[in-house]
Structures are given as structure tokens and as C-alpha cells.
């Protein structure tokens, strides 16, 4: 259990949020030209880092907005929170 600062609503408890997986995965521009392996790589493969990870989160029981978060997965320390479409901070 930890507190998350929603960029719209402010500080809320983690149970109001839903994790949405790794952030900044770019959809291939020409999916039809990819091999099955390359498509599977895009669709399923995630880094799952122990350490600093860029993630998407949704404030599902609040404003229902998506946002990005930089979190250390080993100790749940939140390094940064930023809105969708904003440039990721260099950490």
C-alpha cells in the first residue's frame, strides 16, 4: 500500500488506482510488414525491470484519467508522475 499523487486530483491511496503496464511502447507503423515474432515482441514482451520502470496508471476510482509514473519496482518509491503526452523525465 502506498500513496500516489494523481496529476489531476492530488494525493490518493493506491487502492483507487489501476496499474496499466509498461509505458512508452510505440506501435509499429506498418504492422502488416512484421513477422509473427516481431509482432509478438511488440504485443506481449515487457521488460519487467527490478528497479526504475516507466509505467502507465489509471485513477480508476477517481477522475478515471490515465497518466504515467516512474516507479522503482524494488521498493515502490515513486520518482515522478507526469501526464499522458508529456515528455518522460530523465531519471
Amino acid at each position: 500500500m502506498f500513496l500516489i499523487i494523481c496529476p489531476y486530483c492530488g494525493e490518493r491511496e493506491q487502492s483507487e488506482f489501476k496499474a496499466g503496464g509498461e509505458a512508452h511502447i510505440v506501435r509499429p507503423k506498418q504492422p502488416t510488414e512484421l513477422s509473427d515474432d516481431e509482432w509478438a515482441e511488440y504485443l506481449f514482451m515487457r521488460k519487467n525491470i527490478k528497479g526504475i520502470q516507466f509505467e502507465r496508471w489509471n485513477h480508476i476510482h477517481g477522475c478515471r484519467k490515465w497518466f504515467n509514473m516512474v516507479r522503482d519496482t524494488s521498493n515502490d518509491e515513486i520518482k515522478a508522475v507526469y501526464k499522458m503526452g508529456e515528455k518522460p523525465p530523465s531519471i
Binding site: R12, E13, E16, H61, G62, K65
Partner: protein, 187 residues
């Protein structure tokens, strides 16, 4: 299972706590992002939508609650006559917002149940089932929050000192009201 009948049949009273459903109250959800949307709503209703998070704005007849950067709930301050079916506000917004493609207007009058809670133990009750920190909220008249109460999504509006309005989806209202009664009886 969904339950569309009126499930909260009576007002309940405990020491430091009174709860009752207020009805019929008109409720609308409006969504829009454009600047023109905000000004069109302002002109139509004579009410400026709040743009600051967790706040509200109020006119003589209506209250607008901030729910998200592009979503607001508007409800009537007074109860309506049940036989009159007053859709005046909705029609006005439909004309000025929906039909001009500025945003969306949805009537949620029957979807949400408004429960009025009074007393000095309101926040003691909420604290037994919500992860939200009510310390600042309770002292700031006009605060609004969407959070969880007994694992149910609710909208809470701090109307006055020791008076809040709580909005919950109708299908959850019976369970929430019975949970609140149970919890209130143990405070």
C-alpha cells in the same frame, strides 16, 4: 443484480448522524474539453464550471461538481416535482452542447442516488471504510471528491459544516446504505 426500485425507503438516525435519500433531484453528467464548451455551458446555465480540481460552483438553482478535467456533474439544488419531469436544463444543454458537437450531456438522474448525511460523526463513519484522507476535506466547505467507500465508487460533496451529499450508483445504493447503517451503529 441490478435493482431499479427505490431501495432506500426511510431516513435513519443515530447519535451524531442522520441519513436520508433526497429525491427527485435532477442530475446530469457533462463532458467536454474545448474552451467553447466551458463558455457555452456558462452562458446556457448562467453557471461557470469549476476548473480547479476537487471543487464546485453553485448558482441559485444548480450545483456543478468537478469530477475530472473534462467531466462535471450538475444537480438541482431543490427537489423537483415528481410529476413535472423537469428536463428543461437537459434540453437546453442538448441544444447548446450536444447538437453543436462541443461535448456530451447525459441524464443520470435515475442512475445516481443522492444520500444526504448530517451530523458531527460523518467523517468518523467514512473513515471506517474509505482510503481517502478527509482531514482537509472536512474543513473546506464545497470540497468534492470521488473515492471508494466500502469498496463502492462514490462522489462526496461537503455541502456545509457537518452536512455532506453522497452520490452512489443506484445498483450499489442498497448495499452501501445498509453498510452505512451497520457501521454507524458501531461508532
Amino acid at each position: 443484480m441490478l435493482n431499479y426500485s427505490n431501495v432506500i425507503t426511510e431516513a435513519k438516525s443515530y447519535s451524531g448522524l442522520q441519513m436520508k435519500e433526497i429525491k427527485p433531484v435532477m442530475k446530469l453528467m457533462i463532458r467536454g474539453k474545448k474552451r467553447e464548451f466551458l463558455s457555452a455551458v456558462g452562458k446556457s446555465l448562467n453557471l461557470l464550471l469549476p476548473t480547479e480540481a476537487n471543487t464546485l460552483s453553485r448558482s441559485e438553482k444548480l450545483t456543478a461538481l468537478w469530477l475530472s478535467p473534462d467531466e462535471w456533474m450538475i444537480y438541482s439544488n431543490e427537489t423537483l416535482k415528481s410529476e413535472s419531469n423537469d428536463y428543461e436544463t437537459e434540453n437546453l444543454l442538448n441544444k447548446n452542447i450536444s447538437k453543436t458537437n462541443l461535448g456530451a450531456v447525459t441524464d443520470v438522474t435515475d442512475q445516481f442516488v443522492m444520500i444526504n448525511i448530517k451530523g458531527d460523526k460523518i467523517f468518523d463513519l467514512f473513515e471506517t471504510g474509505s482510503p481517502f484522507n478527509f482531514n482537509d476535506f472536512r474543513n473546506k466547505k464545497g470540497s468534492v471528491t470521488q473515492t471508494i467507500l466500502a469498496k463502492i465508487d462514490v462522489i462526496i460533496h461537503n455541502q456545509n459544516q457537518n452536512e455532506v451529499n453522497l452520490f452512489v450508483r443506484r445498483s450499489f445504493s442498497q448495499h452501501l446504505f445498509s453498510w452505512m447503517n451497520d457501521s454507524a451503529s458501531r461508532l
